[in-house]
Amino acid sequence: MPLQLDVFLLILRLLLIVLLYLFLMQVVIAITRDLKKTAAVSANPENRAPPVVGHMIVVDNADGISSLSPGMSFDLAPITSIGRGPTNTIQLTDNFISSEHSLIENHNGIWYVRDVNSKYGTYVNNQPAPANKPLPAKPGDIVKIGFISFKLVQ
């Protein structure tokens, strides 16, 4: 029996819906594969975040001027930048911290604290760090950034 036009149109209609959802499925599969690839790239150890070599614990938040509460801990990488700007390793939102404030580095187990032209200064045990010159520090020292004091912990 020959195919009637009405029936043919109904088949076309159903076929359209099947094709639309097949297309959506195909795109979702492509996207999932893409996500898995990205996940594999970031699981690769070379691309992972740098190792944590020490910590910095808030000991004095200058009578509540800053929103950081004493006891809060921050991870330190071999090179850690601290400041208000979003590009820093540790971003601290405080009015007395410059957008790029200080740099804490660890070379062969020794810490170096460096001030990056900040407005309110960086101190190690109350000794001001000169601009852009690293000041050595050891675990247990108090590092003051602006008005917030941190204790350096290995």
Binding site: P2, L3, Q4, L5, D6, F8, L9, L10, L12, R13, L14, L15, L16, I17, L19, L20, Y21, L22, F23, L24, Q26, V27, V28, A30, I31, D34, R84, G85, P86, T93, N95, S99
Partner: protein, 472 residues
């Protein structure tokens, strides 16, 4: 650009994109065939119960519009493979399919529009606009050599956009205030809508400004006790631009565009600052503005009236309600009837009566799609939009700096906000406003603007991929 070599071209060919394009091509060819057959049945030359044979199958000439579109998509795929091999491969098939469905709907609706508006060339013009859109896309992706150029001249873009809309404002005030859309600029045969470009310019401006002042905006300026005072001096220029844009739209009575621009502003300020407090504050201001608008403008009241109108209870309508359904509320009521008559699988392209809805080709295209493709088709189309938006935000996440991230996210949210405002408007969930459904509505400016957005997104994706390669 790198030197061209045949082997290189094969190796970096965008196979994924080509494979993803196959089903859209099949869908378009199938729909065109359906449309041509439906026309035959409609015209009465062939009876519906007649058997199918080669004689009443459409000839190859009927498929020309779709074949042309397929040719353009393949050409773009090849061009991208040669010059931008690493850019996103999913967006083009998604956008191509939507544009194709848009062209088919215009082809279908044009000849059947109610008498004074009958326009057999509607589909052809839509097809030409899509082709011009692809040209705009290529100009954008090739021309945007450095994103820095966009960022540096950010005030220029904002001012250019405002001036363009200002000219239309004066123009429309001089002519007449009673036509439904006023943001049109008639230059010879062209009907330009400068507001379509304005939204792109505003996103570029917001992105450049916010990325420049991201610290200040993210932190808030001062703190008095528990209260956070935003840095007004930093937010000033943004608020000024926003206010100017909104004022212009109040002037030309484009409620939908005002809503869209405010939505973009909210998205970008949230993405730039990460603070929900800005969003809440802006929403409160928005509700206040909306209330003032409701009190001041009759046409806004009318739109809200339509949302609260009870359609289901049509048997017990009062005379006043009857009059509303055939007068001011005709569009929305007819749109709902069209949607409901479509059912789950729809009436089939060319077999419904979408043209009973006034202005169906642009503002109410969603109801035409619902009637002829059904609920299943509408869900698939919304799925395509979701995937486009997902892809856009993914390009934003992967981008290398704050400006590119904000730009990509802002441009993507244009699609998201536009789609939700007009789809919800068509379904009587929000006041109906006259903004186009991206890629599907008839309208040249809108299509070209959308393709420029896709061009910028793919350029950002290309830049990111190239930087990654440079690092690896």
């Amino acid at each position: 650009m790198h030197r061209f070599s045949f082997r290189n071209a094969i190796r970096q060919y965008r196979w994924q994109e080509l494979v993803l394009l196959i089903i859209p091509f099949m869908i378009l060819l199938l729909e065109m065939t359906q449309l041509l057959l439906a026309r035959l049945v409609h015209a009465g030359t062939v009876n519906g119960t007649a058997s199918l044979n080669v004689k009443n199958l459409p000839t190859i000439e009927g498929l020309i519009p779709v074949l042309g579109l397929i040719g353009v998509l393949i050409a773009v795929n090849i061009l991208l493979s040669v010059f931008f091999p690493k850019t996103d491969q999913v967006l083009l098939p998604l956008v191509g399919l939507l544009s194709g469905i848009g062209v088919l709907m215009a082809l279908r609706i044009g000849p059947n529009l109610l008498p004074p508006f009958t326009d057999p060339a509607l589909g052809t013009r839509q097809l030409i606009w899509v082709m011009l859109g692809f040209i705009a896309f290529l100009i954008t992706i090739f021309g945007l050599r450095s994103m820095d150029w966009l960022r540096r001249n950010y005030y220029l873009w904002a001012i250019l956009g405002i001036v363009m809309v200002g000219i239309t404002l004066v123009h429309s005030l001089r002519s007449n205030l009673n036509s439904p859309t006023h943001d049109q600029l008639n230059i010879g045969p062209l009907n330009l809508q400068p507001s379509e470009l304005l939204k792109i310019f505003l996103v570029i401006f917001f992105a450049a400004y916010l990325s420049k002042n991201i610290d200040a905006v993210a932190e808030g300026g001062m703190r008095i006790g528990p209260l956070h005072i935003p840095p007004f001096n930093k937010l000033g220029p943004i608020a000024l631009m926003l206010g100017l844009a909104l004022l212009l739209f109040l002037g030309i009575r484009e409620l939908g565009l005002a809503l869209l621009i405010y939505g973009i502003f909210l998205v970008m300020i949230y993405l730039g600052s990460g603070k929900i407090s800005y969003v809440i504050a802006s929403l409160v201001i928005f509700v206040l503005l909306g209330f003032i608008g409701y009190k001041l403008f009759g046409y806004v009241r009318l739109r809200f009236e339509a949302v609260t109108f009870d359609v289901l209870d049509w048997q017990n309508w009062t005379p006043a309600q009857q009059q509303f359904a055939t007068g001011d509320g005709l569009q929305i009521v007819q749109g709902l009837i069209a949607l409901s008559s479509g059912g789950i699988i729809g009436s089939g392209l060319g077999l419904g009566h979408p043209t009973f809805v006034p202005v169906v080709q642009s503002d109410m295209i969603f109801t035409a799609l619902g009637e002829e493709l059904g609920l299943a088709g509408l869900f698939a189309i919304i799925g395509i939009y979701l995937l486009i938006i997902y892809r856009g935000f993914r390009i934003a996440i992967e981008a290398s700096d704050a400006f590119n991230q904000l730009l990509a996210a802002g441009l993507t949210s244009i699609f998201a906000i536009q789609t939700i405002i007009i789809a919800a408007g068509n379904m009587k969930l929000l006041p109906l406003t006259g903004i186009p459904l991206p890629f599907l509505s008839y309208g040249g400016s809108s299509i070209i603007a959308n393709y420029i957005i896709i061009g910028i997104l793919l350029r950002i994706s290309h830049n990111t991929a190239r930087e990654r390669q440079g690092l690896a």
